[in-house]
Symmetry: C2
Subunit: 667 residues, 2 copies
């Protein structure tokens, strides 16, 4: 049996792709066929991975950011021996298959992140490469490079046009992420056709300007040239590398290669056959000859690579047992033993302190500092506003290109890049990222928050300046609809704490959660009130009775979140003075509260009792909880540039308004 040529190996990807897309009658053949030669060289000559253990901590990370070409990833996983079967491939784009339209983290072993929304896979990869540097700085010891891997990412024209890729690329250059290797699939085609009229960047020069090492002008169908490029890219250094490969989209298709027609639709039965002839691939659909299967099989090489590392790690564990145990804990995603005690201690401290006047962002920051001290897996950061978001805590230490041992990333003014990089770090393992910006600019990064939820990643998005209370900066900086929009992301968990105790529960839940959390914190002072110990349980359920002015069924329920607890507390006093039995309800996490059974919700909200919900934001979220007479006091217009308290008055989110609405309901 002769060893197959590299072209034969690459052609296996091409025909698996063409045949699968043809059968599915849906999908994108062009990218996989165009990048097959590059991927073959990377996977067979360079990529360090073990198909039998896709979670091996020291594997190289491989991300296909141009995720519409998912058949490239699936073909690679199938051929390398990840247990993805031919039947799995045939089920491409079918319900509950392992081969969905775009690669999905958690669905397919070996897929490192969910891609498809362009540019974000690239930013995820930057996050992974940063995670590697950070963990290497933390865990590696003389003679024991236990964290030492590359991150490879494939990008297309589309990824490079997206702003999020620019943000991440710029930061990768500034941070000097030398073990990040990107491959640009320069095929000159996007959905609208030849890209020259709308994408005329000199990409090589652009990336050089961002501080990257660029290997330009590589023929992506010349395996030797590609191999030389990868070898050069892997040389030690502190610049990330961009390999610019000229490729032909749909390579091999005699009538469609090099054209948009090869991009997003099956080639057609006849054209697939013509491609077979053209490339000299005489095999029937879905069949790959044994010698090609064997040449691709990465299991033996992978097992050997992991065994080598296991030996290294065994020596490390002997020499540095505590570090080794810590590394294992971190990679397993387990919280440290002392975590419960830290939370309990902080709860006690807060409860003992009683009523304190402070902004939630401040209490939250103090807690974050405690947690950062206790949990070295936390890696914080902020999109330039470290000191106004107070994301920078007492325990924060900056990361920069000279020293990755810190725990805080200055992301610059790059909300979207930050969020997508956080997802990459969370997917990498051993790190829990939090990242901050003003709530209104969550808009810039929304799709990354969405993807973190789809991937169930433990990313923590910290948004301060949470309402019209922002004041003088005006409507561009005053969020209204952002919390609603974030709460509506499937699977998300959004906290808007109104006290330091609620903020503590938010952080606790975020750190315990398998999935992302949004923590929203006000800049201005919150309501001044003291919690009771029994509130803790209610906070953890997302909503609870804060107080009631008289026993039994109340006359009126006033419910709020965050700083608007102040309005309902003040309104409640007035109404109680007027002889009404008033129940005050705090709902710091509507997502968790909405997931409680109806009995608990009823216990808290006393369904049917007149109710006023108050939140200085879009009211739409709260109507779902109105089961009887009631109203929502919210903000449906843009804010104004003026001191925050004046804007509250101007938009009529005041205790007086709450009293008036309650009186109106009580008739």
């Amino acid at each position: 049996m002769t060893r197959p040529s590299r072209r034969d190996l690459a052609n296996a990807i091409r025909f698996l792709t063409a045949d699968v897309v043809q059968q599915a009658n849906s999908g994108h053949p062009g990218t996989a066929m165009g990048m097959a030669d590059i991927a073959e060289v990377l996977w067979n000559d360079f990529l360090k991975h073990n198909p039998a253990n896709p979670k091996w901590s020291n594997r190289d990370r491989f991300v296909q950011s141009n995720g519409h070409g998912s058949m490239l990833t699936y073909s690679l996983l199938h051929l390398a021996g990840y247990g993805l079967t031919v039947q799995d491939l045939k089920d491409h784009r079918k319900l509950h298959s392992k081969t969905p339209g775009h690669p999905e983290y958690g669905i397919t072993a070996g897929v490192e992140t969910t891609t498809g929304p362009l540019g974000q896979g690239f930013a995820n990869a930057v996050g992974m490469a940063l995670a590697e540097r950070k963990l290497a700085a933390e865990f590696n010891r003389e003679g024991f490079p236990v964290v030492d891997h590359f991150t490879y990412v494939f990008v297309g024209d589309g990824c490079l046009m997206e702003g999020v890729a620019q943000e991440a690329a710029s930061l990768a250059g500034a941070l000097g992420l030398g073990k990040l290797i990107a491959v640009y699939d320069d095929n000159n085609i996007s959905i609208d056709g030849e890209v020259g009229a709308w994408f005329a960047d000199d990409t090589a020069a652009r990336f050089r300007a961002l501080g990257w090492n660029v290997i330009a002008g590589v023929d992506g169908h010349d395996s030797d040239a590609v191999a030389r490029a990868f070898a050069e890219a892997r040389q030690p250094g502190d610049k990330p590398t961009m390999i610019c490969c000229k490729t032909i989209i749909g390579f091999g298709s005699p009538n469609k290669q090099g054209k948009e027609e090869a991009h997003g639709a099956p080639l057609g039965v006849e054209e697939v056959e013509a491609t077979r002839k053209n490339l000299g691939w005489p095999h029937p659909a879905f069949f790959v000859p044994a010698e090609i299967i064997q040449a691709w099989d990465g299991r033996a090489r992978g097992a050997a690579a992991e065994a080598d590392w296991n030996r290294l790690f065994a020596g490390y564990a002997e020499r540095h047992p505590a570090l080794a145990a810590e590394f294992r804990r971190r990679m397993a995603g387990e919280l440290p033993k002392g975590f419960d005690a830290v939370i309990a201690g902080e709860a006690d401290r807060i409860l003992s302190a009683g009523a304190v006047k402070q902004p939630v962002r401040k209490g939250s920051s103090r807690l974050a500092g405690k947690l950062v001290e206790a949990l070295p897996e936390i890696i914080g950061g902020s999109a330039d506003v470290s000191l106004s978001t107070l994301a920078w805590t007492s325990a924060s230490r900056s990361i920069d290109r000279a020293d990755f041992s810190g725990n805080f990333v200055h992301y610059g003014v790059r909300e979207f890049g930050m969020s997508a990089m956080m997802n990459g770090m969370a997917a990498h393992g051993a790190l829990i990222p939090y990242g901050a910006c003003y709530l209104v600019f969550s808009d810039y990064s929304r799709n990354a928050v969405r993807l973190s939820s789809l991937m169930k990643l433990r990313s923590i998005f910290l948004y301060t300046h949470d309402s019209i209370g922002v004041g003088e900066d005006g409507p561009t900086h005053q969020p209204c609809e952002q919390m609603l929009a974030l709460r509506a992301i499937p699977g998300i968990s959004l906290w808007r704490p109104g006290s330091e105790l609620e903020a503590l529960c938010a952080w606790e839940a975020a750190l315990r959660r398998k999935g992302p959390t949004v923590i929203v914190a006000a800049r201005q002072d919150g309501a001044v009130f003291a919690h009771k110990p029994e509130h803790l349980d209610g906070i953890r359920k997302g909503g609870y009775v804060l107080s009631q002015s008289a026993a039994g069924k109340p006359d009126i329920v006033l419910a709020a979140t965050g700083t608007e607890l102040g309005q309902i507390i003040a309104a409640g006093e007035k109404l109680a003075q007027a002889g009404k039995s008033v129940r005050l309800v705090s709902i710091p996490n509507g997502n968790i509260f909405a997931a409680q059974d109806k009995a608990y919700q009823d216990e808290v909200l006393s369904f049917g009792t007149p109710a006023v919900f108050v939140e200085a934001a879009s009211p739409l979220y709260w109507y779902q909880f109105l089961k009887g007479p009631g109203t929502v006091v919210g903000v449906e217009s843009f804010g104004e540039s003026a001191p925050g308290t004046e804007v509250y008055r101007h938009l009529n989110v005041t205790a007086e308004r709450v009293v008036a609405e309650a009186e109106n309901l009580l008739g």
Copy 2:
């Protein structure tokens, strides 16, 4: 009276800024003080504008993208003679003042666009420069360059870090927008401090790589050097120009200049006085000497410039009367006389055709083609997916660097850049932009949609692939929460038509509106049903009774939007067969419907009657309309990669489910 020095002129900006921010005790002095010399040269030597007529069509556009430094803009408008008084300046950041925290379009005469959300002002400016080229190609005739102006934009480090600026810059380079001149305020400072650790781009090289002319290394405090740079940038050519100016943030403040402390807080009373001494500015707060006032006054020069243009335009009007009339109409934002007839004609055609099976995106595209033919002010475009969004109509002609006379912009894969550029075109005047992408990727561009609403611009955002019906591309491409999030933007108008007639009303309303519109269109076939002429009025009210199975008060109301009209029609038939009186309601525009008086809403929804709302999206929007027993059939989890109809079944958004919910309500 000696003519003041350029430095004196610039110092007027510096002290107005320092004094105003000090008095407001809130604001950003650093940028205005740092860019004062540059702005002085631009405004006094180059900018073509007429303070007495801020809406003169052929004025140069000036955008301060680093909008937090708004006191620069306000000082310029005050000094140049726009009627912004010292009292207006003193009211900086006060409720309803003309000098809000960030520059706001529509609030302050002379402010061309709302800035503050970083990067977007720059992208707006790219849109304005494109508008100029497009209108010049359309209207200018031999000897009559009636459209001939520059667009100037100031950007800071923050703007250049944001991805949206990259997207717009790349497209500006590809399109060769030679009359766009950007000035980079390279002061080395962002909120987190010196930017080098997180922003190490070689900005000059980066912009050269994007096809820009770059004038690097200009001392932003050397007025002659700045003047030479502007003169060079204005030379004819087909490359946009980036002037990189080294500046000192907070220039003149002896203890704070060059530091972050000068950025976002008042300098402090003592430091302002120290700055007075340092710069030799002996005048009291808010006082500018008469000779400086006089030197700044741009009214005479502006009146002369506009008078010149008026003479040119008078000649043009004589020689090309129809074109001149058309130009006047377009700049006034008036629709053409034939518009009503086009709408009426299309309505007749659709009503005559009866029930047609087709995707809404297709009907919408046909209508858009008709409208593009009838309204030359429409400038379409798409973020690369022209042919799958069907944004490309029968009447579309591409714009490219060689020919700006077309009406369709290939924005590339740049949703955010597209949207912000559209806002710039809408703000420029004489154009109505629409731009398309898949609904799920509205996430990428959300903040630009928000700003279009804050600015009340006539931008039309066209989003197709509107639900889990997208199918095989899977959850990354299937929107759930996006419509809710968009509908919650204050002032927005979101249509999700379920028929071609509803799509017609959507386009009609969008074109008539003073403010932005979102049109959401499905990829898959819509429900097959025939409209009655009387539906037109109801559609225009946002919601209406589509049909009722028996006269009188119905037993049940089924309400839906878009493709889910199919589910309620099928469910309605089943329920009617079972003897129930069923009312079917279509609510193609919840925003408009919610703004109708309660009596109309009640007339349509029969409040109190059991109701089922159906939309394959987050259900949260619809609870506001539930005034009695009822439920919402929606999508609260992510979708799946599978054929669309299977995903609908899997997530239980089916006629059978609607029937079951209705029966449950009816007991």
